[in-house]
Symmetry: C2
Subunit: 490 residues, 2 copies
């Protein structure tokens, strides 16, 4: 077994930044060295590499199957939207106009009307929903598309978290009543929550955005918020009850059972590749990427450890393990490269985030055992060879549970109550996380905190809050009508 080049390669593999002290730089390093994404030549754009895209495919497969099982159909609408269509709903044009990328020329000709590269598609989808909806029998109408959108924000590129172009799904639905539309809004929020809880090993908090931060033109924006290990909250998916505003702007009406013309209630909901940013940020560590087994491209890597005289028996044993796990549906890879030593392989698969490593040396062969190592904490266990698949699946489940428990502990430790400007700012400054306080409902009270510490109200309790945590606003002291969750955010 040759070590040629291992040392210099190992150096370029290693993560040099520390998650705890240089979170931003560490994150950027993990994304690049774990082969998830690269920076594009134009600021704000990224290239998603195969190992990053495979994670997005897992998100897609899960959500898409849940959407379809609950009455959603996929469709595809143009990536360009005429300016006049955007302008038909005044809030949406005000909300998105500063961020729109404009196509002005086709070939050598200037276009008569410039076209927006879609920042979101309400203004092109709603008019078609209007054309396709005549009677209450056509409702509910539930459409979804997987596509990319562009928002020309002039901030630093942070792969997956903040990019000018991003991949997402956007769902758009129309209903007969407010109740139906609200049920839809919550169905999708719950599906997003399920993605985080059951697939990405991330506990989340469901809430509403304050009115001044809701979707432009909508009634209520609900949000799935995930607390990152650096104490910032990630808006990890949003589901909007849009009321009748968009339906009125785009003539989306239906004839009810009494043949009366009625206006639809609509919703829209979206989840983007930010989910991957949250996933990477939440679980990964100073050795590199950490992935839950649910989404890991390889759930298990088998690494043989041999000397010349044991090579044959160790490799043969490994090949049998590989064949058996593979037949049992485990995503497993056997790293039998001759030119790399086991230590190098350990590091490389740790960097890639493979949840469980099976080590096999001559001892394992002799004792008919396997040694399993959990990626997140290096815990080692042995199991009998005959229990291979069961022991492996147990180890994968344990890894998932560990990742979830760690993230949950972070969330639980970081919800604090505070009242009064000084206490709010002090608590946010010292600990990050969520600070719960009474709120009078005025945006000015949020602005005061935001100006000083760049934290904002990231959510309100999901249900209208009849009994706020404090009787008075934590900022101005007036009567409180809500409990606000302040946090720094992405």
């Amino acid at each position: 077994m040759s070590d040629d080049g291992d040392e210099s390669d190992a150096q370029s593999l290693g993560i040099t930044k520390r998650k705890e002290y240089e979170t931003g730089e560490w994150y950027a390093e993990v994304v690049q060295k774990a082969d998830l994404a690269d920076y594009a030549p134009m600021g704000g754009f990224i290239v998603v590499k195969p190992r990053g895209y495979a994670l997005w495919e897992q998100v897609q497969e899960n959500l898409d199957s849940w959407f379809k099982a609950t009455g959603v159909e996929n469709a595809y609408f143009p990536m360009m939207i005429p300016e006049s269509y955007l302008e038909r709903e005044s809030d949406i044009v005000e909300g998105f106009d500063p961020e729109v990328a404009w196509v002005t020329h086709g070939g050598h000709e200037e276009l008569e009307e410039r076209l927006a590269v879609r920042p979101t598609s309400e203004s092109i989808i709603t008019p078609y929903m209007a054309e396709w909806t005549r009677s209450h029998r056509d409702l509910p109408l539930r459409l979804n598309q997987w596509c990319s959108v562009v928002r020309w924000e002039a901030t630093d590129t942070k792969p997956f978290f903040r990019t000018k172009e991003f991949l997402w799904q956007e769902g758009h639905t129309a209903h007969e009543s407010e109740a139906d539309a609200w049920e839809e809004t919550m169905t999708r929020l719950e599906q997003y929550n399920r993605l985080y809880e059951d697939v990405l090993a991330m506990p989340t908090t469901l809430g509403r955005k304050p009115d001044h931060d809701k979707f432009p033109g909508g009634e209520t924006t609900t949000t799935v918020e995930a607390l990152m290990p650096d104490g910032k909250s990630l808006q990890a998916g949003t589901s909007h009850y849009l009321g009748t505003g968009f339906a009125e702007a785009y003539d989306l009406t239906y004839r009810d059972e009494d043949e009366e013309e009625q206006v639809c209630h609509t919703t829209s909901w979206g989840l983007s590749w930010r989910a991957l940013g949250g996933l990477i940020m939440t679980h990964s560590d100073d050795q590199g990427l950490v992935l839950p087994p649910t989404v890991a491209p390889e759930q298990v890597v088998i690494v043989p450890i041999w000397q010349e005289d044991t090579r044959e028996e160790v490799l043969e044993y490994c090949e049998q393990l590989h064949a058996e796990l593979d037949a049992d549906g485990v995503r497993v890879v056997l790293d039998d490269r001759d030119e790399r030593n086991p230590g190098f392989k350990f590091n490389e698969w740790e960097l890639k985030g493979t949840p469980v490593r099976i080590e096999v040396g001559p001892n394992e062969v002799d004792d008919e055992e396997i040694t399993l190592v959990h990626r997140p904490d290096g815990e080692t266990e042995t199991a009998a060879r005959e229990d291979l698949t069961d022991a492996t699946e147990d180890a994968l489940d344990t890894v998932y549970a560990k990742l979830y428990a760690d993230a949950e502990a972070n969330l639980e430790e970081n919800v604090r109550e505070a009242h009064g400007r000084g206490e709010i700012l002090g608590t946010l400054g010292q600990h990050g996380g969520y600070v719960k306080t009474g709120w009078c409902g005025e945006e000015a009270c949020e602005t005061e905190i935001k100006d000083q510490i760049a934290a904002e109200i990231v959510m309100l309790p999901l249900e209208e809050d009849t009994d706020p945590v404090h009787e008075t606003c934590g900022v101005c002291g007036e009567d409180a009508t809500e409990t606000a969750f302040f946090a720094k955010n992405y």
Copy 2:
């Protein structure tokens, strides 16, 4: 059972144009009335409705699984390409510049460098392949992305066949040698062929494009051509051997086993939603859409036929059939709507292209039988109730075979030999289809035919043609070096 509204609805459902005489108008009507697509507000763009998108998902699922089984990884590259990147390969900028949509503004700011909405992605993907490729051990590198592209052609919109924006997949690969890259080129061409043969029930012909019509900057463009029932050839997928031109332009090199720097050989290959245009055009008829069971959203519709006194028994029987077929994995729907009569339902499911209809009346119940009707030709067969799934699957297979056989007969009848301008033009004018003739290799000889009848050389035999069909060029009479297939095309 009420007939209210059936008559007017039936009228709006019916196809009014005839495939044989008004092919273009008939096609547009089928696409819209079978709920596949709608026209967008901007000329050249379409909206793909759920029933159209479901067909695209079938194409995706098949190709994607074959790609992955043969070493291809999915990735995602930016939808915008800086102008300076496009310009690094001079042929590609010349080839696509007239068709590029340009983004010139982001928000309220004019961009320093305008960005092309990708017309194809060689010029953004190849530089990254160069960054990721150091040694021969990194090769072959096989990337694919599913995305949309924009080409600003100023021609009439024909849904799926010709649109300014279209969905496609584009594969990009790098290899050590010409032989490897050629093998890749052919692997993808064969997979496209398999899609048509085994999934879309369309026989195709494999060939090469003449040099003057190959991919800009490439060496050889291979093509899958499908003959449409109106006698025009559809370029239904292309796979390009690009030689070393792109690799040189974008510095895509590798160190070989002797540590020598070598230039890669690259390929690219793409298949778009034109495949759906070909599918619809090939099989559909004056009653509407016809789909092979492989891609039909509903493979079987069960239509109950009852009077008041037989309603209960007929419906119960139908529900049992539905449950059994569903459990056996057949995509089946029971049309038990009360407000529509059987005749209306027959028409509607015929319009939608459902391959097999199972009719159940009191006689079927009494005799413990089922009646199966094949969509494409109305052929009716009866089977014993106990043979339900077998009989249904046989019927589905038979429908596939019928569709394929019809398309194959059309292809076989429409390959003709001709020699001399008059005979070539006469044969193309009278019959359409392919005209085989000797060709000297000069574009001028194609131009002469094209100017008179808008037919061109759509392909040459796949293998270098050592023995052309004629000794002399069918147009100019000089020595022939190739056999050319002339045809009108889409």
